[in-house]
Amino acid sequence: MRLEDFMNKSISSWMREEGPHSDIVLSSRIRLARNFSDETFPMLASEEQLERIRETIETNYGNQTFQSYKNFSYVSMSDLTAVGKSVLIEKHLISPHLIKKQKRGSGVLISENEQVSMMVNEEDHLRIQLYFPGFQLHEALKEANAVDDWIESKIDYAFDETKGYLTACPTNVGTGMRASVMMHLPALTITKQLNRMVPAINQLGLVVRGIYGEGSGAVGNVFQISNQITLGKSETDIVEDLNSVVHQLVERERHTRSELMNNSKIQVEDRVFRSYGVLEHSRLIGSQEASTCISNVRLGIDLGIIKDVSQNILNELMVLTQPGCLQQYAKSALKPHERDQLRADIIRERLQLEN
């Protein structure tokens, strides 16, 4: 398959669209944890119960279209190869937890443009997730609510007057909502400002972590910022709080970028062009090095140091150079050094597409 075709298949279409502040905010996400009212939560549910939940979701919502989210298709985890599963994780359509604790009847319902995905029988019966490109938390919340109402029209949710939506983990009870944004913060990372800001962000009930969620380190200066508290605050208030922190981070990042350009232009240029050189010429590249270089090049594009390369390259290569995606491209399992070679090839080829 040609790289272009593979890219078209591997990169979710919503990801290609530009959103507000997309030079810094890569995506906005709302996730809702929901459970059926009369079924045991997946951890203790019997196989029949798990199957019943899967069937309800698959028959009622599979092959359906809701507003602009067309043709939801259901993918069962038991039908997927290991590579197929990691591709879904790398595209953030499922969580690693769904695989690690794979249950009977676990799967995911995905809209055609991959903007909406619903995990079935993960920690909760349903995890509804909705992505928007750039910084659009309010829009994402509005749409997530609409999808949630659509699901609720046929399913009785586990809900309690005082405790709200009941979830398997006490950390999700109440709204069951996790709002998050993915941010590219190279300037705040280089100047070590982010580390100092994290405690203050935590105090507001928000968490900063790496891109693959809980327990993952930051890769390529990309961070995920999300709410920790789900009980006692309304969805809008939670989103509003996150919104204002993200706004501040965007401002700070922009400010620091221009300061860097004013005070250490040559150092920034050196960093950017070295990375560009590595991406353009390396024949073997590990994922860590690739992410760092991609981040630097993207910074170079944002600052106008590198011209004629599209901004989207970061989002694209971040997905394409992950182990699962590489192996899907190669159509076979690859050893780490084979992956490093293919990764270097793909990056070079992707950069050529620009010229």
Binding site: N35, S37, D38, E39, T40, F41, M43, L44, E123, N145, D148, D149, E152, S153, D156, Y157, A158, F159, D160, E161, T162, K163, G164, Y165, L166, T167, A168, C169, P170, T171, V173, G174, T175, M177, G205, E214, G215, I229, T230, L231, G232, K233, S234, E235, I238
Partner: protein, 181 residues
């Protein structure tokens, strides 16, 4: 010193064991200590957020005191969910509920946990599902109207207040009708 178990590697762990008053010195390497069960290493899982959380849930005074007598006491009155048979002790260990009914079963113990995890909050203040919460919607609406009513009376805007009062009456009638059917 050589490891007394494998007699190959260097002994890095040294401790003494007293069984029936008889004291025994033990010198083993790390591998044997682990294999023979002299020491237990917390698995990777111990570091996950959930375990950390599960640790946090171990809050109540009784289980803090590790005396045998207290253990017996807590065991005896351990709450068990009638729906999924999860016990409160189990819940504290895994940090997850087994089903929606667990929330009711363990309700008397949960608020301190919620307060800890959610910055002092214990009450939901967000979305209410459309179908399942239709009664609740009415209730909330009545509450809002009542607040408005108080405000209007204070400002002596009685005509407006009468309108709101009628709205409350209508909603209450709807609600009662809904409850009866």
């Amino acid at each position: 010193m050589q490891c007394q178990e494998c007699e190959e590697r260097q002994a890095t762990l040294h401790f003494s064991q007293t069984i029936n008053g008889e004291k025994k010195e033990i010198h083993v390497c790390e591998k044997c200590a682990k294999d023979k069960g002299y020491v237990t290493y917390p698995g990777e899982d111990m570091h996950t957020l959930h375990n950390l959380l599960a640790g946090l849930f171990n809050f109540d005074q009784e289980s803090m005191k590790p005396t045998a007598q207290h253990e017996k006491l807590t065991l005896k009155k351990d709450l068990e969910c009638p729906e999924c048979s999860m016990t409160f002790t189990q819940f504290k260990k895994v940090g997850k509920f087994g089903c929606a009914t667990c929330y009711e079963t363990f309700s008397s113990h949960l608020d301190p946990i919620f307060r800890r995890v959610h910055s002092g909050n214990t009450k939901h203040n967000g979305k209410i599902p459309k179908r399942k919460g239709s009664n609740l919607h009415t209730k909330k609406q009545i509450e809002t109207y009542k607040e408005q009513l108080q405000e209007l009376i204070k400002r002596e805007e009685f005509e407006e207040a009468a309108v709101i009062r009628d709205k409350i009456r209508a909603l209450q009638a709807d609600k009662e009708a809904g409850e009866e059917s």
